[in-house]
């Protein structure tokens, strides 16, 4: 009962935050509210037992997205949204109300929240819950479904992330004319001593935590996606405090580009190796002496590939955004 209570309160907070995001016009405030919005939804995911998802949302939504949006408003030098009076608001409003009403009508037939007999719980899910531990030897079912049972999906998603990174590089990576004397927001700030000292303490801890999340993801919440995001957040923090040049000395962009492709290559390479060993693509059972050992090794390698790819792509994206403002 207490979970339902927390659930309802968090949902109401999220709804209020969303309305505030819609109504405000100061872009900086909107982005900060969006960070809060993401963090609230991460808490809600944790309440609803989706620990891996909560983890990812907290790192991505409240961390990386917020930083990227801030970088965008710094680059576009836009502080406020222009409010136009001439806009006719009744048309979008009526479209939204009608669509919403139809969708709410559709939910009336849905099984109640938390119903163990709902169709979603009775088809493929019981198989994963019953067999995953036995077939892969890993306690975290999310990891075994992610990397093994639905390895194809995950491969596709890693490739999408990689492609988005390449596209951002193509759009913002090259040299460009600076129209006015755009000073780099990140370079300009001389941060205080306290911030630099605290960052120096925090960054190693964040990196160790990211490695823990990467390699303990088979047993507890975590995995390649989360670890990659947390690791890139550590370097982003470093960049924000010590400047872009210092960060590029730590990790040169050329190495990052190689790492991004390497991550995807590890993933696809594991698939090729399983074919050569006589199995199907991404069927890890053939990798080890026993089925379980093979699955375990395959999942570890694939998660490593995911971690490297996500880390490198997110960092390439951030450094490209930051480098765009460089004079």
């Amino acid at each position: 009962m207490i979970e339902v209570f927390i659930d309802i309160i968090l949902l109401s907070f999220i709804a209020v935050t969303a309305v505030a995001i819609l109504r405000m016009t100061n872009l900086f405030a909107i982005i900060m509210l969006f960070g809060i919005f993401s963090f609230l939804s991460a808490s809600l995911f944790a309440v609803m037992d989706a620990v891996d998802v909560a983890f990812t949302e907290a790192a991505v939504g409240a961390g990386i997205s917020t930083v990227l949006m801030l970088a965008t408003i710094a680059l576009t030098k836009t502080q406020k949204e222009k409010v136009s009076v001439s806009h006719r608001h009744w048309l979008p409003l009526s479209v939204v109300i009608v669509t919403g009403a139809v969708l709410v009508y559709g939910t009336l037939d849905l099984p109640a929240f938390g119903d163990p007999e709902a169709p979603a719980q009775t088809h493929v899910a019981p198989y994963y819950i019953d067999k995953a531990v036995e077939e892969t030897g890993l306690p975290n079912m999310v990891t075994s479904v992610l990397a093994s049972y639905r390895g194809f999906d995950t491969l596709g998603e890693v490739v999408v992330v990689f492609t988005a990174g390449v596209a951002v590089l193509l759009l913002l990576g090259g040299k460009h004319r600076i129209s006015d004397t755009g000073t780099n927001e990140i370079e300009k700030n001389e941060h205080s001593l306290i911030l630099r000292v605290v960052a120096k303490f925090l960054i190693p801890l964040i990196i160790v935590f990211a490695l823990y999340v990467q390699f303990h993801g088979d047993f507890g919440p975590g995995g390649g996606f989360q670890a990659g995001v947390i690791l890139s957040a550590a370097i982003i923090l470093y960049t924000l405090v010590f400047g872009l040049d210092a960060a590029e000395r730590v990790i040169p962009p050329s190495i990052l580009r190689i790492l991004a492709s390497l991550g995807v290559l590890i993933y696809t390479g594991v698939g090729i190796v399983t074919i050569l060993l006589g199995g199907n693509y991404l069927n890890y059972s053939v990798l080890g002496d026993s089925k379980v050992a093979g699955q375990h090794l395959g999942i570890l390698l694939v998660e490593l590939g995911v971690g490297i790819a996500v880390f490198a792509v997110l960092l390439v994206i951030f450094l490209t955004f930051a480098g765009r403002g460089r004079p």
Binding site: I21, I31, T76, V133, M141, R150
Partner: protein
């Protein structure tokens, strides 16, 4: 009646968020605000999926001795990858916004349309 409301409250809030995001995308002219609206829409979809995966009295889908009832791991997998894909595509959208600003000098939709017409 009360059970019905509690049992469907998650879905209704998801739909409400979806519509707030949708409204921001179609009614606001600022491109950054549109992308934030898209993100709100995206989170509403995550919320819907995770609500569907929840099982009452269930535990997180990590095997523990003595636990019988687990939440559905499949939606968790789908959404966890969708979040990371979401930030990558958001970054792509933001990169386009930066390029539009460099080309047009504004990120307001109506001003961009005016500039297009005067060309």
């Amino acid at each position: 009646m009360m059970d019905f409301i509690i049992g469907h409250y998650n879905y209704w809030v998801s739909i409400f968020l979806m519509m707030v995001g949708f409204y921001a995308v179609i009614s606001r002219g600022n491109l950054v605000k549109k992308i934030i609206g898209m993100n709100v829409f995206q989170v509403s979809v995550f919320l819907l999926y995770i609500s569907i995966s929840t099982v009452e009295q269930g535990s997180a889908p990590i095997f523990t001795e003595g636990v019988e009832l687990y939440s559905n791991p499949l939606p968790h997998v789908l959404i966890l990858t969708a979040i990371v894909v979401g930030v990558a595509t958001t970054a792509l959208g933001l990169a386009l916004v930066v390029r539009i600003k460099e080309a047009y000098g504004t990120i307001e939709e109506d001003e961009i349309h005016e500039l297009d017409h005067t060309l």
